[in-house]
């Protein structure tokens, strides 16, 4: 399957899972909002230009927003993590030239620790910005801000771990031959 088709299918699956599975979970507490959808942005290939990465993320976030009826709230954090991702990948990549040899960020292409760090930083960035926007527009106390980021990050990391274990992406080593 080509990368384009794979990513288009992923786009739809991530949105549908986020809207119809994770957002349909009965609310346990106001801090508990399970987010997984932004993993799509982390999984996008290395070789997408930064401009396109941001455009795709913007539309990805906006699609979720239109499902939830509040445009702009998820689009802004998605653009932020798309902007930051290439910097982090450059910092964290293990061996020289891995961006060229492998398709996209994964445990296989980057190694456990750098990949985990990438996911952790992007998750925290995404949630902080999201809760900050919510906090700005709606106005809550400070503990809401801190507590919600903490709890949401923990849940997201757990969900991402489960997803990575269930759908282990074995990246093929790309060579010039064949």
């Amino acid at each position: 399957m080509s990368d384009l088709v794979k990513n288009i299918i992923r786009f739809m699956v991530f949105i549908l899972v986020q809207v119809y599975v994770l957002h349909k979970i009965p609310p346990l507490h106001r801090f508990v909002v399970p987010y997984l959808y932004f993993l799509y942005i982390i999984w996008l290939p290395f070789n997408i230009g930064r401009g396109w990465l941001m455009v795709i993320s913007f539309f990805f976030g906006l699609t979720l927003d239109y499902f939830l009826g509040f445009p702009g709230l998820h689009a802004a954090p998605c653009v932020l993590i798309a902007y930051v991702r290439p910097f982090l990948v450059n910092l964290l990549i293990r061996q020289e030239g891995a961006e060229q040899s492998y398709g996209s960020p994964s445990i296989h292409s980057m190694g456990w620790a750098p990949y985990f760090l990438l996911v952790l930083v992007l998750t925290i960035l995404h949630h902080t910005y999201l809760v900050f926007l919510e906090w700005l527009t709606l106005g809550n106390d400070f503990w809401f801000f801190i507590g919600k980021i903490g709890v949401m990050t923990a849940i997201s990391l757990l969900l991402i771990l489960i997803t990575e274990l269930l759908f282990y992406r074995k990246e093929r080593y790309r060579t010039n031959t064949a």
Partner: protein, 284 residues
Amino acid sequence: MRNIFLFIRRYFNFLFFLALQALSLYFLFRYNRFHEAAFMGVASEITGRINERYQTVTEYFKLKKANAELVRENVDLREKLRSNYQPADTLHTIVVDSIRVDSLFKYQKYHYMDAAVVGNFLTTQNNFMTIHRGADQGVKVDMAVIGPTGVVGRVVNVSANFSTVMTMLSRQFKVDAKLKNSGERGTISWDGISPQYVQMRNVPKNVKIARGDSVLTSELSSIFPANIMVGVVDTFQNDPSSNFYTLRLKSATNFSVVQYVYVVQNSQAAEQLQLESATKKTNE
């Protein structure tokens, strides 16, 4: 001039990032102020159709509870039938001081339309509901939406066949309400904590309140008909620094099972709004 182009080319990614951020924040804050979403008309046609597909599956799981609510509403309405009231003393007759309904049509202020709920979220801070009835079927922005058991929300966006409703479980939703016993008024809002409870603010402390008191919509609300159930008093906080109570109400509508709602059109709303804005203008 050349330097400007070089600058743009050098920092293209950063500038592009800022532009996209500005665009999304524009969407967000424009929505906060006017409650009208950019491109929502097109978007909600698509999301509405997908929601509808999903709803055909989940409908069955909630059917039992939804039916129970509708039956309870029917019982309430049947209780109000005139034939139910017959005193034992036949000399004592009940006189109804009104004219026949069909001659009253032109005075009807509130018109009710039924609508099926196709999408409903409870987990966010601003919860929305999609209903399968849109501009083509007579829904307009700012119409009230009520369920079989009480207040549900307000229409904020309409497309051809679908509309989005800002539910009572939204941080930006406000409605004027009153206590059924004393008639004392307050404002209903939601604090974002639990989807079962809403808050009623600005109730003076001299009012006697007991747990279980009913709260209804007041006559002052321009979009909701009066005396629609909002909830019952659950607890109330006595904040010594203020002269007002903040009541916690158990919401009358169970938002996780509501399947059918009524969209209420106030046929005199435009007239009232026009008069009020004209008055505001003369006072400025």
